[in-house]
Symmetry: D2
Subunit: 304 residues, 4 copies
């Protein structure tokens, strides 16, 4: 499998030229656009990989999945669904419009920024420091290794995250958020700055492909229903407004981040992590998307 | 399996009281809201059923799937995708807004009314009479029986379909449609008025679950890729703006119609057809949705 | 005054090169873009003029003012205001959006196409032929001469007016319109095709500047309150989405049409009619606007 | 004139029962809803008044006019118009939507909150303390008396102004604002908290009615063109989304504030200030509006 993956990485390398590294956060713009990597983790924990599969990138929006799962485990789906929708988004990833006109002020889904912020308020913890500890511990457990944040990206997001600040203050003004905004944003930015590599992502995906059971000992880490909820929303909303096209072309629940990572889940089969910081205009890794198309075709993974 | 289905119909019967029969077309408002039926067709053609599974209803928007498949077979996905998007909808099923502001005048997807009208222009035929023949023949082939239209519903739709008329004239004004509007609408209304029962729907769904191969002789009726495209879009857009919630609760590609029918596909396993004219506020059969939740749970069909 | 006007026409001539003749109706695109004319009618009926002041053009949206006044005289403001708003528009002149999302399906104001169609339903007449007679007679009375339609423009509008058709069918579907749509559109297109010259427009404007009294005998033709209502709405909505800028630069209640005409009213002083078929991107005559700026400055006419 | 005004106040008193005091800022909700007052200042400086004409209220959005005039005097209309539009608003007074979708991120006009914030950046001053001094001095000069702020309202706005905070951070994220957001908001809230009475407002209005000349010595305080620009925008946008209806019913350039004040200008004749904290659903003083209708009718002030 490693050599098949190596060939796919070579085949997709040219796509990295067509994309652009995220630049709305200055620190992200320093990423190397020609990087491309992939890892596949089978349900027994075996991992295959190729390309820049051990190079670190910031998790960004892929953290929305782990946050959502932790919030589900802490409070249950019924509690969350009154505050966060499961509607797809057809606009950009941090539109204020979304929030303003749809769904009576409830953020559309947990994978847009507004929904992700509300999700954080459902995670248990007596303050945001404790919440952060719980979040990064949960991520580390899912990904099989102690994780840490990229301090420079975190500072960069904090300084320039005015659109997220606007979203949060808007939700505060409508009463969706009652917490201190700056503290919540700090938590949000910190979580987005956690550093991972493809192997972390594919391992996390494999746990979800295994319906929430540990790959080593089959102990339940996440309730199967919560895995299903997360995967269903990923299938509809995980790739920003390209989710429909991704369903046609790849056909797997997935979540991308502007750090260049994409997590994709083939339930009962494998977890996949790809990375490639050169993004298309909708914020998804160009090379990563291409890799996922080839992997899905090659191993016949589409759920449709 | 029949007795399991009968039990489920009994369990869901009370949900039919909570919905309302569609009344925007006068003729549809005559439907009996307490009807509830289900059919399951396995890939070998065996059918199980319960309730009002042989009562006829008009196919309405479920025809958007067969139209789309026929158009795909006639012209290919690459041709269609330049004129019709694969974006989900978060508004009602016949919003002019959708068309107006999103996606540069391209209808969002083939399963909203605007997209369905454009889909019809891709179906081969020297005029709309010939197109209608091809469409109803294709449907009949998929559903295993000669179908016909409900003349009263057809006339009723023609007379009162002013919102569809507005959509069509709007698309004509922006150049998306170049055909004669009234003739295209006539074709559209006629196809929506085709009468089916649960057994027809489940058989069609079973063909799609069988990747387009005939249930009797395994001959290919529809290209596997076209089946995949249709199912991917159904998963994202098939239940109007409740598609996200349906993904969470049922987890199957499906398409509903305001006649009360829902078609759902468990790839590699079975096709399911339910009917129940009492609709929820988003236009989906209330009893039918409940039946599908139970069937999906019972047979563990969710793709997530 | 004639020589002052002649100088202004010469000064503004070069602006006609910057605009474009309306081309959404094929027949309109045949207009001569370099035409530019002006007439001023004083309250005693004396007229001054310069440039192409006797060349005919179709009245188009300026007819919305006479229609509205006739409807006010027939039914009164209180009756109309429940069906038509007095909200300004900030989008283009025939947006479906306007209608769809604002103001609970009530057209925003009588000077957008949707509002103008609803206005026509308030005009007395046992059928649309009789309504047309009353409308053109009213116009002729205001403008001091027997008017007639441009048959070629009328036919052209009928054939290509699909956006208006969409608007009308949409309003039919929401119940705002109950009349036969094609017949109403025919009336609408016919009225838009009435041919006028600057002298007609300035005379009509002078009657409004005279609070509705005949210029010859001071008999009341239109109630003063109805004149005030029409002028107030013209000041806010008469120049499409350039109404705010026009208020700043010219400061007079005015109404433009895509035929190239603009009517402007200096209450208690004079009526002004300009024409110039070369339009700016918002649908207003470029040369005509410039002329009005100069006239308003020269005679200190701004109401602000 | 005083007795005529006293009678009008009595006639309008009952309207104060129909409105509601603004409650989005806790401190404002303490206002007395039954207050109603009026002042008229003639161009020679003579003032007439009735009712609660000397009771203080916070100036709120009426300050947008003085801010805009000071910015015009400091930088000129051509500079401002590239950053702030002159488009009317048809939504509520602090919608994020306005900002987001119209006019390419430029706030629609200087009298919505977003536009008012941008206006402040055009006022000269080496920091926001100096800007505040210049603003309150300018106001005091216009209104003929040393003004001061209501400290409790100022603190209340600061603490609860999250919607304005969202607007400002959003504009910061799109680059419209480059200043420190919290400092700008502080300036904005402080200016809104300036206390005035009807006599102040009517005197300011009289200066504008006098084309910017001092009422005592006829020295020019504001350029006539800047007065015209401000009045033109007030006529189109001064009464939130009721501006169109106000034009019909009253017919004067005006600006209202949620403190209950309305300033109205009869050019060449008089300035009018009314107050009444009970507001209608669109944020305008109910009793104040009624008073203005009666004053406009009685003295025939409508500009239309």
């Amino acid at each position: 499998m490693n050599s098949a993956l190596q060939q796919m990485v070579r085949d997709c390398q040219s796509w990295t030229d067509k994309g652009k590294v995220a630049d709305y956060i200055p620190e992200l713009s320093k990423a190397n656009p020609s990087q491309l990597g992939v890892s596949i983790t089978q349900l027994d924990g075996t991992e295959f990989y190729a390309g820049n599969s051990r190079d670190l990138f910031t998790i960004q929006s892929i953290s929305k999945v782990s946050n959502f799962l932790l919030a589900l485990e802490d409070k249950g789906y019924e509690a969350l669904k009154h505050q966060i929708g499961v509607l797809p988004t057809i606009r950009g990833f941090n539109s204020i419009l979304e929030l303003d006109i749809e769904n009576e002020h409830k953020p559309l889904n947990p994978f847009i920024n507004a929904g992700a912020m509300v999700t954080l308020t459902f995670i248990k913890g007596k303050n945001n420091d404790e919440k952060f500890s719980r979040v990064i511990n949960f991520m580390s457990q899912m990904m099989g290794e102690e994780l840490s944040i990229n301090e420079a990206v975190y500072q960069s997001e904090r300084e320039t995250g005015n659109r997220n600040r606007a979203l949060a203050y808007y939700m505060k003004s409508t009463g969706i958020l009652t917490e201190d905004v700056e503290s919540l944003l700090d938590l949000y930015f910190k979580i987005c700055s956690v550093q991972v590599h493809c192997g972390h992502i594919s391992r996390f995906a494999a746990v979800l492909a295994n319906q929430g059971r540990d790959l080593n000992n089959e102990m339940s880490l996440i309730k199967p229903y919560h895995c299903r909820v997360a995967k269903a929303i990923m299938a509809n909303c995980g790739m920003y407004d390209a989710s429909g096209e991704f369903a046609v072309k790849v056909g797997l629940p997935a979540k991308s981040g502007v750090g260049g990572g994409i997590m994709a889940i083939a339930s009962g089969k494998m977890g996949i992590g790809v990375m490639g910081p050169a993004l298309d205009t909708r914020g998804n890794s160009m090379g990563g998307w291409q890799l996922l198309e080839r992997i899905s075709d090659h191993y016949q993974l589409s759920i449709y």
